[in-house]
């Protein structure tokens, strides 16, 4: 009985604790799974380099999920930084504002390529955007009319493609990668496919409706896409270049528009499917949560995101030095996206 009382007392103390909780001293980050490895490395190095700050805590959830958490409001139980593999959308800025998050500071820190890859024992793909569009669109133009997608095999689309059943694993809509995939691959492909005349709305719909039987949307991380490739070897998966770099032994990458994706071709802009990577800082939290400013400055330092820096070793494509300096200056000046 005494023990029971004692443990109840302990429980009461435990519960009373958070009521008087001290302010949070660790930066809380969530968002894009493409940015996650980079942000984690920076967080760890930050903790090592600054003995007076704790290493930030980095969560996942995809760009959309991260920004949703980011826009939940201002205060200690909301995150401070959202990682994103696409720019923040207008609706998201509005959602943020509605909850009182006004100072959204955008920080671009580098680039990543989006690659199409198959298991290493499959055929060589030399893709054009139009091939991918024709492979996954629900309806495609045949003789000037829209018909249900008849293609079963890549070689039916184009004789140069391998004799392989069409199966595509694309990132789900919670991922920023999906947005870039549609914008840089499907949109030009749709244009090239020469759809018959139709109004704008119908055109967008025709371009962005994918058939469900061969397209799998992956809402998890790239490892899930990889597992899908292992389960069904004929699948073509969409990955970030940095993930591919870590798994070159099991993946084979496809050329897009005649360019093989690599650090060099993405950095030079030759490879068409690339995107900038960002993180968004909650301006309201700077000064309340210690270390946000230092973390951002550290992130944009030459040793971290410069060429030859830590993150390049992990597969990030660095920005030119002047762009990086610009990004740093914009952050230090307190420039917010809402003001754009």
């Amino acid at each position: 009985m005494n023990k029971l009382l004692l443990s109840t007392a302990v429980a009461a103390i435990l519960l009373a604790g958070p009521a008087s909780a001290q302010s949070r001293d660790t930066i809380q980050i969530a968002g894009s799974s493409t940015v996650l490895p980079f942000a984690s490395i920076v967080a760890e190095e930050f903790g090592n380099a600054f003995p007076d700050f704790k290493a930030p805590v980095v969560g996942s959830g995809g760009t959309g999920g991260g920004l949703k958490q980011f826009c939940e409001g201002v205060g200690e139980n909301t995150i401070d930084i959202a990682n994103a593999s696409r720019p923040i959308k207008k609706e998201e800025i509005e959602a943020c504002k509605a909850k009182g998050v006004e100072k959204i500071q955008e920080v671009q820190f580098g680039f990543d390529g989006i690659v199409f890859a198959t298991s290493s024992n499959q055929g060589d793909f030399k893709l054009q955007p139009v091939h991918v569009y024709k492979a996954i669109a629900a309806q495609v133009p045949v003789d000037g009319k829209m018909v249900a997608n008849p293609y079963k095999n890549w070689k039916d689309i184009d004789a140069s493609l391998p004799d392989q059943e069409i199966n595509v694993a694309i990132p789900g809509s919670n991922h920023g990668t999906r947005e870039v995939f549609q914008e840089k691959m499907i949109a030009p492909g749709c244009k090239e496919a020469k759809l018959p005349e139709m109004d704008k709305e119908a055109m967008t719909k025709a371009c962005e409706t994918f058939r469900q039987d061969v397209v799998v949307e992956i809402s998890g991380d790239y490892t899930e896409t990889l597992a899908r490739l292992q389960a069904n070897p004929s699948t073509v998966g969409v990955f970030g270049l940095s993930f591919y770099e870590q798994n070159r032994d099991t993946l084979k990458v496809a050329d897009v528009s005649g360019v093989t994706p690599s650090l060099e071709t993405v950095a030079s802009g030759k490879y068409p499917v690339s995107r900038p990577l960002y993180f968004y800082v909650k301006g309201e939290h700077i000064g309340t949560i210690p270390g946000i400013k230092e973390y951002t400055e550290f992130f944009l330092s030459d040793a971290v995101t410069g060429s030859g820096g830590t993150l390049e070793g992990a597969g990030l494509i660095p920005m030119p030095d002047d762009k990086r300096a610009e990004a740093l200056k914009a952050f230090e000046d307190g420039k917010t996206v809402a003001a754009k």
Partner: protein
């Protein structure tokens, strides 16, 4: 056996032969049914054991090698040409402790800014002067955080300046993968993760014994790491799980046992208590992810508990464990023979005395088992923790239940998603082995305590 005695009546000629054959046929059928049922039983047990053995077999096969990892023995020279820093400050007689502390921190910061990569690089280069290596080749070989170890060695003991000492540096994750053959060694160089020079060097060092496989103590002494996967460990997750376990024991057990005793021994039997009972049973069937959603809404958004903290996780898991404890305790109380209560009441004990002096002690083994099974279930739970932000990358050790942390099963989930598949697949299996060991240990404790209590009771 009695059946066969009836079916072979020697004396009676009255048993007509059609009757007899009918009985024999039915007998055969029933015996057949029995044999078949036994066969099905044995078959299902075999299949179940087969699956378990297969599961354990693959996990052990994959995971056990990850308990050893390569370390490279090199002579590290603390070269004064690279370590250009003034001597470590010593406390002056006229200096205040605060000023000394500040000077010391300043000095440490200066030491941190030195190029410790260069020290690592020079040490490795000196071991194999004939192989052409770029700085990147060497960085790819030695785990990234080893430079901080050298730095800390120097901070601890500044006399090392200018000296050469043998140090065992952890090899990088990719060297581990290469030496263990977790990557296809025959594939073309441009698809390998490790640069060619590093591969040659790793093989040579392994042959002449400068690389040896040491016990991977980092698994137990380090927190998670992305920068240096070879140094990623489970300590942070383990502490997180421990905090949650304590919270579950402290909250769910007393509350659960108290409510069970009240409901079973004291509460009147009416509609209200029936309703409560039904709801408790329903609660036990609620999927854990729902408790996670509830936790996120109530503990995080309403009570403003910190995200990713074991406190919030522990509270969610307590809610989840509560029905298990209540139901098991009630079952244990119900199993106590009424004669015990009647005897106690008959001798003039009050109801409280009856319950606490006579009934409850008999149920200790049952309550204990329920508690440990509930806690073991809670420790292995992942889904609700994902919703309260515990699936984050945390490198610092949680010093209190209010600090951000992960938990063992969540760490397994995170490692499973790591992009360096070749390295993290075995490492994930190793983490699973550790989690299973913790669970088995808990269950063993339950069995031991139970048998001990039973003997006493």
């Amino acid at each position: 056996m009695t059946v066969s005695a009836v079916s072979s009546p020697k004396s009676s000629a009255a048993a007509s032969s059609p009757n007899r054959s009918r009985i024999q046929a039915s007998l055969k059928r029933r015996r057949g049914a029995e044999t078949r049922f036994r066969f099905y039983g044995i078959a299902s047990v075999t299949i179940a054991i087969g699956f378990v053995l297969f599961l354990f077999g693959t996990i052990l096969h994959d995971g056990v090698p990850a308990f050893w990892q390569p370390v490279v023995k090199v002579d590290v020279t603390f070269d004064p040409a690279v370590i250009k820093v003034e001597p470590k400050p010593v406390q002056q007689p006229d200096q205040s402790p605060a000023a000394f502390q500040r000077a010391n921190l300043d000095w440490q910061r200066k030491v941190s800014l030195l190029n410790w990569n260069r020290i690592v690089e020079n040490s490795v280069r000196a071991e194999a002067p004939d192989i052409q290596m770029t700085p990147r080749d060497i960085q790819a070989m030695i785990s990234q955080n080893e430079r901080y170890r050298l730095r800390n060695m120097f901070i601890e003991n500044p006399d090392l300046l200018g000296k050469t000492v043998p140090v065992e540096l952890l090899a990088s994750a990719n060297v581990d993968v290469w030496l263990k053959g977790d990557i296809d060694r025959s594939i073309a160089s441009d698809r390998q993760q490790l640069p060619e020079a590093a591969r040659t060097l790793a093989d040579r060092f392994y042959e002449d014994g400068r690389i040896r496989m040491a016990f991977a103590s980092v698994l137990f002494t380090n927190t998670d790491s992305r920068n240096a996967p070879a140094e990623a460990g489970l300590l942070g997750a383990f502490i997180g799980s421990l905090y949650m376990m304590i919270i579950v024991i402290v909250l769910a057990v007393p509350v659960g046992v108290a409510s069970a005793i009240y409901l079973e021994e004291f509460a009147p039997k009416n509609r209200l208590t029936d309703l409560i009972e039904v709801n408790i049973n329903n609660l036990a069937a609620v999927p854990s992810i729902v408790f996670g959603l509830l936790g996120a809404a109530v503990f995080i958004n309403y009570f403003h508990l910190p995200l990713s903290a074991p406190l919030a996780g522990g509270l969610v898991l307590s809610l989840m464990t509560l029905p298990t404890v209540i139901i098991a305790t009630r079952a244990a109380l119900r199993a106590v023979p009424p004669s015990l209560r009647q005897a106690a009441l008959g001798l003039g004990a009050s109801r409280t005395q009856t319950v606490f002096h006579h009934v409850l002690p008999v149920t200790y083994p049952g309550i204990l088992t329920a508690t440990i099974i509930g806690v073991a279930q809670a420790i292995g739970e992942t889904a609700p923790l994902l919703l309260i932000g515990m699936n984050a990358f945390v490198t610092s050790l949680p010093v209190s239940p209010l600090d951000q942390s992960t938990a063992l099963p969540v760490q397994i989930f995170l490692w499973e998603g790591n992009e360096n598949r070749n390295y993290f697949e075995p490492k994930t299996a190793a983490a699973i082995i550790i989690l299973l060991t913790v669970m088995l240990a808990l269950n063993a404790i339950a069995i031991v305590l139970r048998s001990r209590f039973e003997r006493r009771a």
